[in-house]
């Protein structure tokens, strides 16, 4: 197992290298790239050369890349054009809200997907199954930002139940308990929106893999040796049905990150997704480049984690 993980990590290096070269090239070669930001027409030639020299933009692109990647490997991603802070500091400020939204939505979506998928699989063909299937079709077809706007309209503007934007009520100091409650209220809608958009697809995978697993011989064996329906379901069926779901969830990790970016912008959630859009609008290339590359690291790590989880869920799978 340890050897397998090391081999997979080594395989990830060339991929991430390719990704970083592609993203660096993309950002620097695009019209209006970092050089374009400095090409203020009112800037004198000397002033332009001074700025280019200061940021190393006068050197050949491969040299610039090597300098950048050398710094990045040591945790130095350069400086934000907008705030002049180190990129890592900027990202660090925006990371906790994103982590909060991402993990809560992911956990909620997973739990509900496993439950709904299992229920509609064991009640295959009943009204419950049809309701779950219909709802999942709705969820798959619903653009995430539209769902966000609908819930804002319903719960915020019509019912006045929940706040529609931000992470906490501004300008009010609460005692610790109420502060937590206030933050939970703010989290509720974005978390629901993000979870719903993935819950739909995942519950359908869970349903079909559960139906498949229930036909297997080992399920009949377990029943024959006298295990109760509940034991068979929880100890035997669900564990095996989870394997395809793990793959899908891992593949979807990048999409969940994208969905989180959209959700954050709809709900003015001050996380990395909002930073991404505002950096794009202000052409803050060092920040954009770092987020693209770190995003790829994140997706590759999620895929590796999924492969390791296989072995945990299914003892038959052994890596060597």
């Amino acid at each position: 197992m340890g050897r397998y993980i090391i081999r997979r990590l080594l395989q990830a290096i060339p991929l991430l290298f390719l990704v970083s070269v592609a993203m660096f090239g993309l950002i620097h070669l695009l019209p209006g790239g970092p050089v374009g930001v400095f090409l203020n027409p009112r800037l004198s030639a000397a002033g332009r050369a001074a700025i280019e020299q200061r940021f190393g933009l006068d050197q050949p692109l491969p040299i610039q890349y090597l300098k950048w990647i050398w710094g990045a490997l040591q945790g130095d991603f350069g400086f934000s054009f907008v705030t002049n802070q180190p990129v890592l500091t900027v990202l660090g400020q925006r990371f906790p809200p994103t982590l909060e939204l991402f993990t809560t939505a992911l956990v909620l979506a997973l739990i509900l997907a496993i439950l709904l998928g299992t229920i509609s699989a064991i009640r295959q063909g009943t009204v419950t199954d049809y309701v779950v299937t219909t709802l999942s079709y709705f969820g798959i077809s619903m653009p995430i930002f539209f769902l966000g706007l609908l819930l804002q309209e319903l719960f915020g503007i019509v019912l006045h139940w929940l706040p529609v934007s931000g992470i906490a009520t501004a300008g009010v100091t609460f005692d610790p308990f109420n502060a937590l409650w206030d933050q939970f209220n703010h989290l509720l809608l974005p978390m629901l929106v993000l979870a719903t958009s993935f819950l739909a697809g995942w519950s359908r995978y869970m349903r079909s893999s559960m139906i498949e697993v229930r036909k297997q011989d080992y399920i009949r064996t377990a029943r024959a040796k006298g295990a109760s329906t509940r034991t068979v379901l929880w100890r035997h069926a669900i564990r095996n049905a989870l394997i395809p779901l793990i793959t899908v969830v891992a593949i979807d990790f990048g999409a969940v990150a994208g969905g989180a970016a959209i959700t954050e912008n709809v709900f003015a959630w001050p996380g990395m997704g909002q930073l991404f859009i505002s950096s794009l609008e202000s052409r803050d290339y060092p920040v954009l480049l770092s987020m693209l590359v770190l995003g790829a690291v994140f997706v590759v790590a999620a895929n590796l984690l999924a492969d390791i989880l296989y072995a945990v869920v299914d003892p038959r799978i052994r890596y060597s």
């Binding site: 991929l15 790239g33 930002f145 999409a255 994208g258």
Partner: protein, 314 residues
């Protein structure tokens, strides 16, 4: 098996036919396409999706001429009441803050959204078939390069990359949005085609065709490719839906279709500012996107079932 033949055999073996010749037994032999069509039509939900899509296309492309709501950009501000007008016989979907006819805009935006969805599907599928066919057929270094390219595209969160490309490269016309979306849409089709080619390229019929002198390109596109037709058609249908969503997300953030073109996505972007005063400006284009994508998904899944060769003939 031909049903009339079956009846003949039994009547020879036994003196009295045990099978009564019902209309079902003597019905004409159906072609492959007919069988698939019949199966699809029997799936009421998928059929409903297909009917809705036909109506939607008629609505968006013929609607402006039939209903006379063909001026999406005209400001009807001659009377103050026509700003934020609620739905009425004159303006079935109401008007926005500057008095534009939302019914006309829904149709004009629908044209753009549907064209972008269909166009980017076509470009993606053609790219995917080409890349997948070459990688699967020739294998080796071409295949390796393709797979690394797919890995890179899959490793970077799609939305983020698409946002960056749209913000910098796109001129925000339907054509450039179609091309940008297609850059990412081809991977699934390419993998489907590639795996089909790897499975088929060593088969006897390919060797036979090669023996009588068929060249590589003819082998690839006349002999092997038709085997992958089913999965490609299903993928293409589902891709239209997901591409319409991609377009709407891009336009919603202002990186996709921009005025003077209307699209359902940028109508929502525009209406977002008036959510608390006139929610219809958001709800109508949003519902249209939702219903369109839902229908494409239902039709795609219906086609998947109809094309599945393992499904028992009904």
């Amino acid at each position: 098996m031909d049903s009339s033949e079956q009846v003949n055999v039994t009547s020879v073996d036994e003196l009295e036919p045990v099978i009564e010749v019902t209309p079902a037994l003597v019905q004409k032999r159906r072609s492959q396409g007919r069988i698939i069509f019949d199966r699809f039509v029997r799936n009421r939900i998928a059929l409903g999706g297909a009917v809705f899509l036909i109506l939607l296309f008629l609505f968006c492309f013929l609607g402006p001429f039939i209903t006379g709501h063909n001026q999406p950009d005209v400001l009807h501000v001659t009377e103050a009441s026509q700003v934020f007008a609620p739905p009425s016989p004159q303006f079935p979907f109401g008007t926005d803050d500057v008095g534009r006819d939302q019914f006309a805009r829904a149709m004009a935006g629908g044209q753009v959204s549907l064209i972008v969805g269909l166009g980017s599907m076509l470009v993606s599928i053609i790219l995917g078939i080409g890349i997948g066919a070459f990688a699967g057929y020739f294998g080796g270094i071409i295949d390796n390069i393709l797979m690394r390219l797919t890995d890179v595209v899959l490793a970077v969160p799609l939305y983020l990359l698409l946002f960056v490309l749209s913000a910098t490269l796109s001129d925000h016309t339907p054509k450039s949005v179609i091309l940008l979306i297609s850059i990412f849409g081809w991977t699934t089709a390419a993998r489907l085609v590639r795996s089909e080619f790897i499975a088929q390229r060593e088969r006897e019929y390919v060797l036979a065709a090669r023996t009588i002198g068929a060249r590589d390109l003819r082998l690839m596109f006349r002999h092997i490719l038709p085997n992958a037709a089913g999965p490609i058609i299903v993928n293409a249908t589902l891709l239209i839906g997901s591409n319409i969503i991609l377009e709407s997300v891009l336009s919603f953030f202002g990186f996709g279709i921009q005025p003077p073109y209307a699209s359902w996505g940028n109508m929502i972007n525009y209406g977002q500012g008036f959510l608390d005063s006139d929610a219809l400006l958001v709800i109508i284009p949003g519902l249209l996107i939702f219903l369109t994508v839902l229908s494409f998904n239902l039709v795609g899944d219906g086609l998947r079932d109809a094309l599945d060769p393992y499904m028992t003939e009904r």
